[in-house]
């Protein structure tokens, strides 16, 4: 779960990391009021949980309250990467001498936390890694030992921070603490600025809460941002189903993340276009009825492809659910099945008896048939 900048900065502040003075505004008038309260030149920043806000025109400087009002008026209501801007962060403008980068994240290679720091900040960390690799320090941490001030100092040695090693090391330790206490997947300060008066301040912050920790971080999760969802996606979410709407015409119901992604890939490989991603593997394998309703309620769907390959998810249970849904809904579009794995003998017998259908022998055959059926269905319309 992503957090907007102001919510992420609140976590930094709680951890003792300096951030610019500022406040959230939800209207142009409020932005003007915050700017005059601050009494200094400000920046007005769109609050949406995505990067590239600057490039999209979502961040503007304003020298006085009047121009803060104008900037706010221009930014509010903008659409940035699918998010409508409804809130702004108005904060004092920093006089930047240098920009650094600091982050803590989970690292698959070392199977634990990784602390990162670069004396080149303000751009994507991938860019930093590519252009100035010698300035990027990476320190894998044993989570049971934690990250000490001494380790932070060792990490920063030789970067030439001009006497700022002390405060930077303290910020890294505080950042690690914030990552740990808040069940973060990622916490990133970019840039961490050295101001002309010498202070280090976090000018922007990204915080991602581990989705698997939401149930034990409920209060924190309330401050997070919901993903922008279509109506069908929101319905899926309410049902506990991962449904992602796409722009094709073949409705997909699969089980398991890998198989369902592959179903989409192979549809595309053979020249078709999937209408959605929806998988009912894992604990969701008993939810075939509401899942199928969701797929069929997308008006672009011209053919339904059901692709089950059961491991944990039993194909007999999923197929029974799919058949219940089909009998109740009686969809006008053709339905194609591919069924293999746990419980497939029972599932195939059920399909033959209740629907008079024999599933395709291979997934590729089923997909090619589905593409042809979708084309036939749109041609006959």
């Amino acid at each position: 779960m992503n957090f907007e900048e102001h919510a992420a900065k609140a976590l930094l502040q709680a951890a003792g990391i300096p951030v610019p003075r500022g406040r959230v505004a939800r209207s142009a008038g409020e932005a003007e009021a915050v700017a005059s309260e601050l009494g200094v030149p400000v920046v007005v920043k769109a609050q949406v949980p995505t990067g590239k806000r600057g490039r999209a025109g979502g961040i503007r400087a304003a020298d006085d309250p009047r121009s803060a009002r104008e900037a706010a008026g221009a930014i509010l209501g903008m659409e940035i990467a699918g998010h409508r801007v409804e809130a702004l962060l108005v904060e004092e403008r920093a006089l930047i001498a240098e920009e650094y980068y600091a982050a803590v994240l989970g690292d698959a290679a070392s199977k634990g936390p990784l602390v990162m720091f670069s004396s080149e900040g303000g751009m994507d960390v991938e860019e930093v890694a590519a252009s100035t690799p010698d300035r990027l320090r990476r320190k894998p941490v044993d989570i049971l030992d934690g990250f000490s001030l001494k380790a932070a100092h060792e990490m920063l040695g030789g970067l030439g921070l001009g006497g700022n090693e002390g405060p930077a090391a303290e910020i890294l330790v505080a950042l690690y603490r914030a990552w740990r206490d808040n069940d973060a997947e990622l916490i990133e300060i970019n840039p961490l600025a050295r101001l002309t008066d010498g202070r280090l301040v976090a000018l922007d912050c990204k915080f991602v809460l581990d989705d698997s920790s939401v149930r034990r971080q409920e209060a924190l999760a309330d401050a997070g941002s919901a993903e922008p969802l279509t109506a069908l996606e929101a319905r899926g979410k309410a049902l506990g189903l991962r449904y992602i709407e796409l722009d094709g015409d073949i409705g997909v119901l699969g089980n398991g993340a890998g198989l369902t992604m592959t179903t989409m890939d192979v549809i595309a490989h053979h020249g078709g276009r999937p209408a959605n991603f929806l998988e009912i593997g894992g604990a969701a394998y008993t939810k075939a009825v509401p899942a199928l309703e969701l797929v069929l309620d997308n008006p672009r769907v011209r053919c339904l492809l059901v692709n089950f390959c059961g491991a944990f998810a039993r194909t007999d249970v999923m197929t029974a659910g799919a058949l219940d849904a089909l009998e109740a809904l009686r969809p006008s579009v053709p339905v194609i099945f591919s069924v293999h794995g746990t419980g497939s003998a029972e599932a195939r017998a059920m399909l033959r008896e209740r629907l008079g259908v024999i599933p395709h022998k291979t997934m590729d055959e089923a997909i090619i048939a589905a593409i042809a059926a979708a084309r036939g269905a749109s041609a006959s319309r």
Binding site: A108, A109, R242, T260, T342
Partner: protein
């Protein structure tokens, strides 16, 4: 990790609905289940084996080599710690949605004690003709058959499909290693590749990866120097960026975790990457000559 028929297996969470269903299937296939754990049902018997309060009790009373965890997400860390402290050196964690920092803690504990972890969020391991642990359809003869191809997969469902394709093409498997769909797992693609490289019963390896993270790139680095042929399929080529595709680990963020990066790294290492899973068997046949 490869499990063998002689390995004694403990089931933590044996009395639950899934624990029971899959314990019965493992037993029917030949897996040597010796005991189960459920603190509330200690002293009883379930699926014909004794149930203990802790893995520690199970170790001293029954003894076991491998523990498989059917435990809810927030209980996984404590259950794994119990098993590791009991002296267990091989753990298979099936649970999905375990908090990532709990995973890191238990992996650190495992590492300090010389224990190997597969998972979390894995469908398990199969050694066809001998045994399986987890929830894989090992017992379906059209999917698993003893043979000489090792399979590594992040996904259970897609791994199952790949195994089906292999059997349809006349191959069998030496071992199936499901590594799990989480971003941080105990056994990475590279780790599993290393195990199969060293396994005398394995002649070639199929890697089933997916978008997200850099495990496939890392595995490519190892595959480059392997003498056994490796072929791969990577799921998620047309998945939209920025969305978690069912697995917590399957997400493209910016330039990270893309299909293109994995494809390029594997091909550069001499690993053929197929456009559909059904192409895997053909590529294997060509590679094996």
């Amino acid at each position: 990790m490869i499990v063998r028929g002689a390995d004694r297996v403990l089931v933590q969470g044996i009395t639950g609905k899934q624990g029971t269903y899959w314990t019965e299937r493992m037993q029917a296939y030949g897996t040597r289940i010796v005991a189960g754990v459920n603190p509330k049902k200690a002293g009883t018997e379930h699926c014909g084996v004794p149930v203990f309060a802790t893995a520690g009790d199970a170790m001293s009373e029954a003894g076991f080599d491998v523990s498989v965890l059917f435990v809810p997400p927030l209980g996984v860390k404590a259950a794994a710690q119990d098993a590791i402290e009991a002296g267990c050196r091989r753990l298979v964690i099936l649970t999905e949605h375990v908090p990532v920092q709990d995973v890191m803690e238990l992996l650190s504990m495992a590492g300090a004690n010389g224990a190997v972890v597969v998972g979390p969020n894995t469908a398990g391991l199969v050694t066809p003709g001998e045994c399986f642990v987890g929830f894989m359809p090992a017992f379906e003869g059209d999917i698993f058959r003893p043979g000489r191809v090792g399979v590594v997969s992040r996904s259970g469902s897609l791994g199952t499909l790949a195994c089906l394709n292999l059997v349809q093409a006349g191959f069998g498997q030496s071992a199936f290693i499901g590594i799990g769909g989480d971003p941080i797992v105990g056994t990475t693609t590279r780790d599993a590749l290393q195990v199969l490289d060293a396994d005398e019963r394995t002649d070639a390896v199929v890697v089933i990866g997916e978008i997200g993270g850099t495990m496939e790139e890392d595995a490519a680095d190892y595959a480059r120097d392997m003498s056994k042929p490796v072929v791969a399929f990577i799921a998620g080529r047309v998945s939209p960026p920025g969305k978690k595709m069912g697995h917590a680990g399957a997400i493209v963020t910016g330039d990270r975790g893309t299909y293109a990066s994995k494809h390029a790294a594997l091909e550069a290492a001499g690993v053929e990457v197929l456009d559909t899973p059904s192409g895997v068997a053909r590529a294997l046949r060509a590679a094996l000559g």
